[in-house]
C-alpha cells in the first residue's frame, strides 16, 4: 500500500506564487474587465490580498460561466456561495468565492441585490456545489435563485413562517414571542413537517421533486415587511434583549 512518493510539480503560475505578496493587479480581474467591460462594476482589494469584483447581478451567470470555462481563468472550484446583509435598507450582497485549482488563484465575485428585487440566476448549472449553498442563502436571506432545481428551505423547517433568519431585520429570538412560538409548535400538524416531495405514491413520478409553488409564494411577502426603520432599529433592541 505504501508506495514511494511521486513528485508532481503543479504547473507553475505566473504571479500568485508568493504568499502574502500584495498584488495590485489580478490577472483574472484584468481579463474580466477587458472581456465584459461595464458589467464589472467595481474592483476592490480587501484584507491585503483578496480581490473582490462587483458584477452586475443580471449578467452574473454569464460572467461566472466565463470564469469557469475560459482557458486562462478556469475557476473550477466554487468554494462558497453566501450573502451579506448590511442592514439599514442597503442591498444584500451575494458572494461567490472562487478558486482555480490549476492556476492557484482566488477571486471573490459579489452581486448587489436591492431589497426590492432579491433575485439572481442560479449557478447550479455550472457547479453542483451551489445546490445546497444557494438553498441556504434562500433560507437565510430570502434571495431567490432563478432556475434552481430544488428551491426549498434547508436548515429551517420547510414551512417556516417567520422569515429569513440572517436578515438584519430579523430579531435574534424570532419574530414571534416565546408563547406564540410554543403555541404554533403545539398546534402544528406533524405531517406538515414532511414536505410534499416525500409523499410519493402511485401516479407520481418520484424522480421529480414535487415542490408546491404556493408554499414558496407564502414566503415572499416577508420581503415587503422590510422598512428602513425596522431594519435600522433591529440591531439595537435585540442587542439589549440578548444582553438581558
Amino acid at each position: 500500500m505504501m508506495t514511494p512518493s511521486d513528485e508532481h510539480p503543479l504547473p507553475s503560475t505566473s504571479s500568485s506564487e508568493e504568499p502574502g505578496a500584495v498584488e495590485e493587479v489580478h490577472p483574472s480581474v484584468d481579463a474580466l474587465e477587458r472581456r465584459f467591460g461595464d458589467v464589472v462594476l467595481r474592483h476592490q482589494i480587501q484584507a491585503g490580498d483578496e480581490h473582490v469584483v462587483y458584477v452586475e447581478p443580471g449578467r452574473s451567470l454569464e460572467v461566472l460561466e466565463w470564469l469557469r470555462d475560459d482557458a486562462g481563468q478556469r475557476f473550477d472550484l466554487l468554494v462558497d456561495v453566501t450573502a451579506v446583509d448590511y442592514g439599514g435598507g442597503r442591498p444584500i450582497e451575494v458572494v461567490y468565492q472562487l478558486w482555480s485549482i490549476p492556476n492557484r488563484r482566488a477571486l471573490r465575485v459579489k452581486c448587489e441585490l436591492p431589497l426590492s428585487e432579491l433575485e439572481i440566476d442560479s449557478v447550479v448549472p455550472l457547479w453542483d456545489a451551489a445546490n445546497w449553498l444557494e438553498r441556504e442563502v434562500y433560507d437565510m436571506f430570502g434571495v431567490h435563485f432563478r432556475g434552481h432545481p430544488d428551491p426549498r428551505r434547508i436548515l429551517m423547517p420547510e414551512f417556516y413562517q417567520e422569515g429569513h433568519p440572517l436578515r438584519k431585520d430579523f430579531p435574534l429570538r424570532g419574530r414571534f414571542s416565546r408563547a406564540e412560538q410554543t403555541r404554533r409548535a403545539l398546534s402544528q400538524n406533524p405531517e406538515d413537517y414532511y414536505p410534499p416531495t416525500e409523499f410519493v405514491g402511485p401516479g407520481r413520478d418520484p424522480q421529480v421533486p414535487q415542490v408546491d409553488p404556493d408554499r414558496l409564494e407564502e414566503d415572499r411577502p416577508e420581503r415587503e415587511l422590510l422598512s428602513p426603520d425596522e431594519a435600522e432599529g433591529a440591531h439595537g433592541p435585540d442587542d439589549q434583549a440578548e444582553r438581558e
Partner: protein
C-alpha cells in the same frame, strides 16, 4: 443501475428492472470496477401478471447511529436499490452565524468549537486567523507554531473518530476501541492545554487563551511517537481485509472532475485524485516550509477515502514532530493592548494596564472595515471563515464555509443506483459532522 423496460414487452415481469452491480469481491482483483450483469436480471423470468411495483420509502435517521448525528435520509428503494435519496438536515440548527453578529470577536470563539466538536481546535484557530488577517494582526512565531501543532493534533483527532465510526459501519468493532483509546489521549492533551476536553475555546484574537503548560510539548511528542503503532494495528485489521474491501471498493465512486464540480474538498476530493490541499495550495502559517506529502487516491471510492485519511494521520504525525522541533520560545500573544488583555500581574499593579484591560473588555477588539475569507485545511475539508466587519467590535456577518455541508450535498449523487447497505458506507466515508452542517 436502473433500466426502464420497453412498454408492452410481455416477457417483462415488472415495469422496472434492476441490474445489480455485483463485482466488488476481492477475488476478482482489486482494481475490478463494478461490472453489471453478473446476476441475471429479471428479464428471463417467465411473464406473470403485471404486479404493480411501488417503490418503498425508508427513513434513515434522524436518530440513528449510522447517520453520525441528526441527519435524516429519506430513501426511495426499489427492492434493495436506492432510487432516490433526499437528505434532510437542520435538526441541529443553532444559528451560530446569527448569534455571532451579537457577540464580540473574542466571544465568538466559544461558538466555533461547538460547531465541529470532533476537531474543535481547528475551528478556534481558523476563526481567529480570519479575524487577524482582516485586522492586520501578525501573531508571534510561537503562537503560529503552537497553532500548527493544535491544528494537526485535531486533524488526527477528527480522523480517529471517523476511523472508529467507519469501522463500526463496516461491521468491525475493534478498531473503534483502538481509535478511541488514542482519542482519549488527545482529550487529555486538550485538557492540559485549555482546561476543557471538547469545548476548548483555546484561541483569542492575537494569540492564545494561555501558553502551553510545562511538559505539554513532550506529551504531544510522546503521543505522536506512539500513534503510528495503533495506525499500523488498525491497518492490519482493515486494509487488506476482504470483508472491508468488499464493502468499500467501488462504492460511492466519484471522478475528480465531478468531485471538483460538486465542491468536494479535503480528503474526499483527494481520494478522487485531485491533490488540492489548502495547506499546500494556499499556505498559511509557513506550511510551505514543512515537509509532508499530500496523499491522493486513484478511484475516488470509499476505500480510497479510507486510504487517504489513514495516510493523512501519519503525515500529521510527521508535521507534529517538525512543528515541535521548531517551536520557539517567546510570547504567544501579540504585544498590543488594543487586542490582547494585559497580564494579570500588570493589570493588578499598573494603572495604565488596568485602564487598557477595562477598555478592551468593555469595548471589545476593534477590527477595521472590510471583509476577509480565510481558508484552512480542516479535518473535513476546506474550512473557510468569511468575516465582514464595519469597523466595530462585532461582525456584520460571520460565515463559515462548512466543508461537511458541501460534502454531504453530494450524497444523493453517490448513493443513487447503489445498494441500500452502501448508503451507510458512503455516509461514513464522507466524514460529516452535523454540528457544522446545521450550524
Amino acid at each position: 443501475m436502473r433500466a426502464e423496460a420497453p412498454e408492452g414487452d410481455a416477457r417483462i415481469m415488472s415495469k422496472r428492472t434492476v441490474e445489480y452491480t455485483v463485482g466488488r469481491t476481492p477475488e476478482m482483483g482489486v482494481d475490478a470496477r463494478p461490472t453489471p450483469g453478473l446476476l441475471e436480471p429479471t428479464q428471463l423470468i417467465p411473464a406473470e401478471p403485471d404486479f404493480e411495483t411501488n417503490s418503498m420509502l425508508v427513513n434513515v435517521g434522524p436518530q440513528h447511529p449510522a447517520t453520525h448525528g441528526v441527519l435524516r435520509l429519506l430513501l426511495e428503494l426499489d427492492g434493495e436499490t436506492v432510487v432516490r435519496c433526499t437528505p434532510h438536515i437542520g435538526y441541529l440548527h443553532s444559528s451560530f452565524e446569527k448569534l455571532g453578529e451579537y457577540r464580540d470577536w473574542n466571544q465568538i470563539v466559544p461558538l466555533t468549537d461547538r460547531m465541529d466538536y470532533l476537531a474543535p481546535l481547528i475551528y478556534n484557530c481558523a476563526f481567529v486567523m480570519a479575524v487577524e488577517k482582516l485586522g492586520g494582526i501578525e501573531v508571534t512565531e510561537r503562537c503560529k507554531v503552537l497553532r500548527v501543532i493544535m491544528m494537526e493534533m485535531d486533524r488526527i483527532f477528527g480522523h480517529l473518530l471517523w476511523l472508529g465510526t467507519w469501522a463500526i459501519d463496516v461491521g468491525a468493532f475493534t478498531p473503534f476501541l483502538y481509535a478511541f483509546q488514542q482519542r482519549e489521549k488527545i482529550y487529555t492533551l486538550h485538557e492540559a492545554l485549555t482546561g476543557a476536553r471538547i469545548t476548548t475555546s483555546a484561541t483569542r484574537v492575537g494569540g492564545l487563551m494561555a501558553d502551553a503548560p510545562k511538559g505539554w510539548e513532550e506529551d504531544v511528542r510522546a503521543f505522536a511517537n506512539q500513534l503510528p503503532r495503533t495506525l499500523d494495528e488498525i491497518d492490519a485489521l482493515l486494509t487488506t481485509n476482504g470483508i472491508h474491501l468488499g464493502r468499500t471498493q467501488g462504492v460511492g465512486a466519484i471522478s475528480g472532475e465531478e468531485a471538483i464540480n460538486s465542491g468536494f474538498t479535503g480528503p474526499n476530493l483527494r481520494a478522487s485524485g485531485v491533490p488540492y490541499d489548502v495547506r499546500k495550495d494556499r499556505p498559511y502559517y509557513d506550511y510551505e516550509t514543512y515537509d509532508f506529502e499530500v496523499p491522493v487516491g486513484e478511484h475516488g471510492d470509499c476505500y480510497d477515502r479510507y486510504l487517504v485519511r489513514m495516510e493523512e494521520m501519519r503525515q500529521s504525525c510527521r508535521l507534529l514532530h517538525q512543528a515541535l522541533d521548531r517551536l520557539p520560545d517567546g510570547p504567544v500573544n501579540v504585544d498590543d493592548p488594543r487586542v490582547i488583555l494585559p497580564s494579570k500581574t500588570d493589570c493588578m499593579n499598573d494603572m495604565e494596564s488596568m485602564i487598557h484591560h477595562f477598555k478592551l473588555v468593555m469595548e471589545g477588539v476593534k477590527i477595521p472595515e472590510g471583509d476577509c475569507y480565510f481558508p484552512v485545511e480542516g479535518s473535513k475539508g476546506e474550512l473557510g471563515m468569511y468575516v465582514v466587519s464595519d469597523g466595530g467590535s462585532k461582525p456584520i456577518r460571520w460565515r463559515i464555509r462548512p466543508p461537511s455541508f458541501v460534502n454531504l450535498s453530494v450524497i444523493s449523487k453517490l448513493v443513487e443506483g447503489g445498494l441500500f447497505a452502501d448508503v451507510i458506507m458512503v455516509n461514513a466515508s464522507l466524514d460529516i459532522v452535523l454540528g457544522e452542517i446545521d450550524r
